[in-house]
């Protein structure tokens, strides 16, 4: 019986997330200066940009886990990859919606095609949105893990490539936050932004660990029931997009 290692350190991590996110919001509302052009509306930037960045990092993180699965063949890596992409999708959709609100408020349109970051982000989301339908339509669990991993790696490699292609295709209007020169934000805004970024990163890690530990516990309960009550004690698995 393996111990559930995913829940280790989870309370501390959750606490750190809450503190960081509260600090980020406090800084955003009371410390960071109002934007000269957009005024109060610009505050959504401290939520939208970290969400989007963490979502994209989450997709790439999922791809790295998928590589580990193909290398080792250990199903726990597939589970990690699945949960990473699942969480990144949730972050991604939240990022898309917050971005759309920001675009409406500052550019006057819900959607701006001239904006490469927006467009490439949408394409990446559309691609990763097929991850779960793909898993769902493969019945054999082993094959499901294998194919999902191949897909995750291809899609993970697609993220940077797609951004290059779309960025070159359009003249950009998006503020470049994380360019090589360290961005063009004034100091207090930069500090707030980085605190928010760390906060959302911690939120992602917390949710990932939480989901992993929940899945792990569910599998353990099922195993125990089978050992104690016989093979037909647990309900049979329904067909599912999730591994296990």
């Amino acid at each position: 019986m393996r111990h559930n290692t995913y829940s280790r350190g989870l309370p501390g991590l959750a606490l750190a997330t809450v503190v960081m996110l509260c600090a980020a919001l406090t800084l955003a509302f009371f410390y960071a200066p109002l934007d000269a052009n957009q005024g109060f509306l610009q505050k959504i930037f401290y939520i939208h940009v970290p969400l989007a960045i963490i979502a994209l990092c989450g997709f790439v993180f999922g791809a790295v886990m998928a590589i580990m699965y193909l290398r080792t063949g250990d199903r726990k890596w597939d589970m990690r990859s699945y949960v990473a992409i699942h969480m990144a999708l949730i972050f991604g959709i939240a990022g898309l919606i917050s971005g759309s609100i920001w675009a409406k408020a500052s550019w006057g349109h819900w959607w701006v095609w001239q904006e490469p970051t927006l467009v490439s982000y949408l394409i990446v989301l559309l691609l990763f949105a097929t991850y779960q339908p793909l898993r769902f339509s493969i019945e054999d669990p082993e094959r499901q893990s294998l194919y999902a991993s191949v897909f995750a790696i291809v899609a993970g490699a697609f993220v940077p490539l797609n951004f290059i292609a779309v960025r070159l295709a359009t003249e950009y209007v998006h503020p470049r936050v994380l360019n090589l020169e360290g961005g063009n934000l004034p100091g207090p805004m930069k500090l707030t932004f980085y605190v928010a970024l760390i906060g959302f990163a911690l939120l992602y890690v917390t949710l990932w660990k939480f989901e992993m530990s929940a899945k792990h516990a569910r599998a353990q309960v099922r195993r125990l029931r089978r050992t104690l009550l016989g093979d037909d004690a647990g309900r049979p698995y329904g067909r599912s997009a999730a591994p296990l």
Partner: protein, 224 residues
């Protein structure tokens, strides 16, 4: 390499006898031109618009070929036979990608002149060398990504749905590259006859990355 050649020759022979995929691809491309004629309500188009219509028609026709690529292997036990044979598994990927590349080339040999006849305002003659260069790079992208996607989709229950769903977003950057590279070539007045270098470079980079990825990952899709 020899295995790939054998599989490729087998595929081409099957296709030449059954005529299952290619005619459908060509017909779809032609019908797409007609649809665009009515959808846009234009008799002739040029420039970026023409490039877009041509690229989309080719993309949809390619999707059809991509969907069919492995169906026969799966339904008639070709996969099992291939796995039993003591050969390199990547040969299957190389053969299928080469086959798809040939289908796409044949498709374009017919569909591009038809496009010039039906819809395109400016003549096709002068920009032809540039056009061929762009389409070769496009075909490589469609063939490598298509083979990979088809390999994933064919073993799912809803393969006709999964294929385009994964394939279309993955092909969007190739679509951007092709459409933008073709745009100036098809412009009225023929201001330029050589495609923009930037987009050729993007297409080539995209081809290279996905060819390597497909080659590295395809083995896992044949696991039994």
């Amino acid at each position: 390499m020899r295995t790939a050649w054998v599989v490729l020759r087998k595929d081409l022979r099957v296709e030449s006898r059954t005529l299952e995929t290619l005619p459908a691809m060509i017909l779809l491309a032609l019908v797409t031109f007609v649809i665009f004629h009515f959808g846009l309500n234009r008799d002739t188009i040029s420039g970026q618009e023409a490039a877009g219509v041509l690229t989309v028609a080719l993309l949809f026709a390619a999707m059809l070929g991509i969907n069919r690529l492995f169906v026969a292997e799966r339904e008639q036990g070709g996969f099992d036979a291939f796995l039993l044979a003591p050969v390199d598994r990547s040969a299957m990927m190389v053969a299928k990608a080469a086959g798809l590349f040939i289908y796409l080339t044949v498709l374009e040999v017919i569909a591009v002149p038809a496009f010039g006849l039906f819809l395109l305002g400016p003549s096709l003659g002068r920009p032809l060398p540039g056009l061929v260069l762009v389409l070769v790079l496009t075909n490589i992208a469609f063939a490598t990504i298509g083979t990979l996607v088809s390999g994933i989709a064919v073993n799912t229950r809803a393969r006709d749905l999964i294929g385009p769903m994964i394939g279309l977003p993955l092909l969007v950057p190739a679509l951007i590259g092709t459409a933008r590279a073709l745009g100036p070539l098809l412009a009225a007045g023929h201001a330029t006859t050589s495609p923009p270098l930037k987009w050729l470079a993007i297409l080539a980079l995209y081809d290279l990355v996905f060819a390597l990825l497909a080659y590295a990952l395809f083995d896992f899709l044949l696991e039994e």
